[in-house]
């Protein structure tokens, strides 16, 4: 494993040139990349997601949702049992009305844990900007940051420039 001591940043104005650079970098064996885009772009995602598993956010949703269902039923049944008052000849723990509460808590817990998942997995909040970030990336520029060994710096620069980068910074 080569030490990834250096970082090169290429700034692009177009999606197709960014994709070209990414394809080129991947085929040359550079996988430690950070790509900045103002919006999620399908072409770029297609290249990046090819060899990555699906985001595990959905696990947070599932666990949060099931916790919500369980706590909805627990709260309603347990509190009904606390004072076993029979009304309308129905069982004290009458499930059909409790489904409404369980449903609402499923959505509530599921939604909140999804956001927690997104924040944790996306490493947010970030207190200071990462060194390769540039303010233009939230406007109309795309950035490709390549982390590589110092001796490969020149070849990475070459790849980024020939793909059509507007600017290449080390």
């Amino acid at each position: 494993m080569a030490a990834t001591a250096e970082t090169v940043l290429g700034i692009f104005a177009h999606v197709d040139t960014t994709v070209r650079a990414l394809e080129e970098l991947k085929s040359k064996g550079y996988h430690d990349l950070t790509v900045y885009t103002p919006v999620p772009v399908h072409e770029i995602e297609d290249v990046l997601e090819r060899d990555r598993p699906v985001s595990p956010v959905r696990l947070f949703t599932l666990i949060g949702g099931l916790t919500g269902t369980a706590s909805g039923f627990f709260l309603t049944i347990w509190s009904a049992m606390q004072w076993g008052l029979i009304t309308g000849g129905k069982p004290v723990a009458s499930i059909p009305p409790f489904v409404v509460i369980a449903f609402e808590l499923t959505i509530l817990f599921g939604g909140i844990s999804t956001v927690i998942g997104m924040i944790l997995l996306g490493r947010l909040p970030r207190l200071r900007p990462s060194p390769t970030f540039d303010g233009r990336f939230t406007n109309d520029r795309f950035g490709v940051a390549v982390h590589c060994a110092a001796e490969r710096l020149a070849s990475v620069r070459q790849i980024l420039t020939s793909a059509g980068a507007e600017e290449v910074k080390a």
Binding site: T76, A80, T87, P97, T114, P125, T138
Partner: protein, 448 residues
């Protein structure tokens, strides 16, 4: 300057045009703020008077204990439905026209639910005991009755408010990052904090996109459930005119109908004053017009079903209640509702009407009036004419409750007016997603 209508805006245009909406406001804006603030003050004074004097000030007596406040509560909850419909259901259906209006609609949802949430408190009289509705351990071992639709309502609405707010904030994060990078000084620091240091790296987008889709999938059944639960506040009771299985879809459809009308009421002036014609185009107005038309037609069908089922039920009380509503004391309100909700949207069959801001605005106002009266007609005449003639009664609004209801509109508009100057009222990211991505090579205009 606004972008010329015919040229597709670029990414940089979007940033510039959205940032422009946050420029310091002019005198007109402050004039509106003053007017709305004045009306809100009257509402607050009226509420104070009601707390001081008692609920009699609101004209409440048996049998119409629900009267204006619950009418207005249901009205505002209904308004709150369009936002999440646009941001969740239309997101899952990939309806691209939603992108330029969804931020304003989501903000509208949150503010409408916040307005609605005031009414149970106002209605409760001693609103400092409202926390009794929440389940919390207490020394008396008392818990809310979870078999009561009113408690379902507390859960449904607080979940709806929480999830809509979360959805709204998640959508704002990348946009606030764009604001941060375009501003300086203390504003930059505030926006940096609010954006959580968002950078738009592939690692962030990857989880963000997945989370957004999941939130939309969770919010979709939630939208449909909230107004269903609100309708069960009525449908679970035995009152003639309420006790019907039709109520859940009937309420949900009416909510979407009135919600879209309110979206138009807010969006059309925004489009005009901010010069957002390049983003909120005729096709957006057309699509919203069509949705109002279709939900209006479905609502007409539900009205017909409602009348038919009470006649066909053969139930004496149902029939008597219907006859009373259609012909007696509150008949004017019923026929006004039929006109506003069934007849006035029919003009939207013409494309010219659907693309004319003036026409849409007038129809939207009619729809809002009609939908307020729909809730009035469900609540007031039904309660006023149930099984036992001794308990029949007529409700007359007082100055206090009318002022509080009008004040609630001011509260809603003041929140919205504040919002459009503090946060991007058009989504930077989602609008960029719908315009062609910048390409160097030719022959491939966009990624869709």
């Amino acid at each position: 300057m606004a972008v010329v209508e015919h040229r597709e805006p670029t990414y940089a245009d979007v940033n510039r045009d959205v940032l422009r909406t946050l420029a310091p406001p002019g005198n007109l804006y402050f004039a509106w703020m003053c007017l709305v603030g004045l009306i809100l003050t009257c509402g607050i004074l009226a509420w104070t008077w009601q707390i001081y004097v008692g609920m009699g000030a609101a004209g409440k007596r048996t049998p119409q204990m629900w009267a204006m406040y619950i009418t207005t509560f249901v009205f505002w909850i209904g308004i709150g439905h369009a936002g999440t419909l646009i941001s969740a259901i239309l997101y899952l259906f990939r309806a691209r026209w939603r992108t330029s209006i969804y931020r304003a609609a989501e903000a509208m949802t949150i503010f409408a639910v916040m307005t609605a949430g005031l009414f149970p408190l106002i209605h409760a009289g001693r609103m400092w005991f409202a926390y009794f509705l929440l389940p919390y351990p207490n020394q008396r071992y008392l818990w809310p009755n979870f078999r009561s639709p009113l408690v379902w309502d507390v859960f449904a609405i607080s979940t709806y408010l929480s999830i809509s707010t979360v959805f709204f904030i998640v959508g704002l994060v990348p946009d606030v990052a764009a604001l941060r990078d375009a501003s300086t000084g203390w504003r930059r620091r505030v926006f940096a904090m609010l954006s959580l240091g968002w950078e738009g790296s592939d690692g962030q987008w990857r989880h963000y996109r997945r989370a957004y889709g999941l939130l939309a999938a969770l919010a979709t059944p939630l939208v449909l459930s909230v107004h269903s639960v609100v309708s069960w506040d009525f449908a679970m009771a035995l009152v003639p005119g309420w006790h019907s299985t039709l109520f859940a879809p009937f309420f949900v459809d009416g909510a979407i109908f009135s919600g879209f009308a309110m979206v138009l009421i807010l969006i059309l002036p925004m489009r005009h004053f901010f010069g957002l014609h390049a983003y909120i185009r005729e096709k957006h107005l057309d699509a919203m017009g069509k949705l109002i038309l279709i939900t209006g037609l479905v609502l007409t069908y539900f009205y017909a079903c409602e009348v038919f089922t009470s006649w066909y039920s053969g139930d004496h009380f149902e029939r008597a209640s219907l006859f009373w509503k259609v012909t007696k004391s509150y008949a004017w309100a019923l026929w006004l509702m039929y006109f506003c909700n069934c007849v006035s949207p029919l003009i939207l069959f013409w494309k010219k009407a659907r693309t004319s801001p003036f026409c849409l605005y007038v129809v939207s106002i009619f729809v809002l009036i009609g939908m307020w009266f729909e809730r009035f007609n469900i609540i007031v005449p039904s309660l006023g004419h149930d099984f036992y003639p001794y308990t029949w009664g007529i409700y007359v609004p007082t100055l206090t409750d009318t002022t509080i209801v009008i004040g609630s509109f001011a509260w809603f508009f003041i929140l919205f007016l504040g919002f459009i100057k503090l946060m991007p009222s058009v989504s930077v990211v989602e609008v960029k997603e719908t315009i062609p991505a910048p390409m160097k090579g030719h022959g491939h205009g966009g990624h869709r």
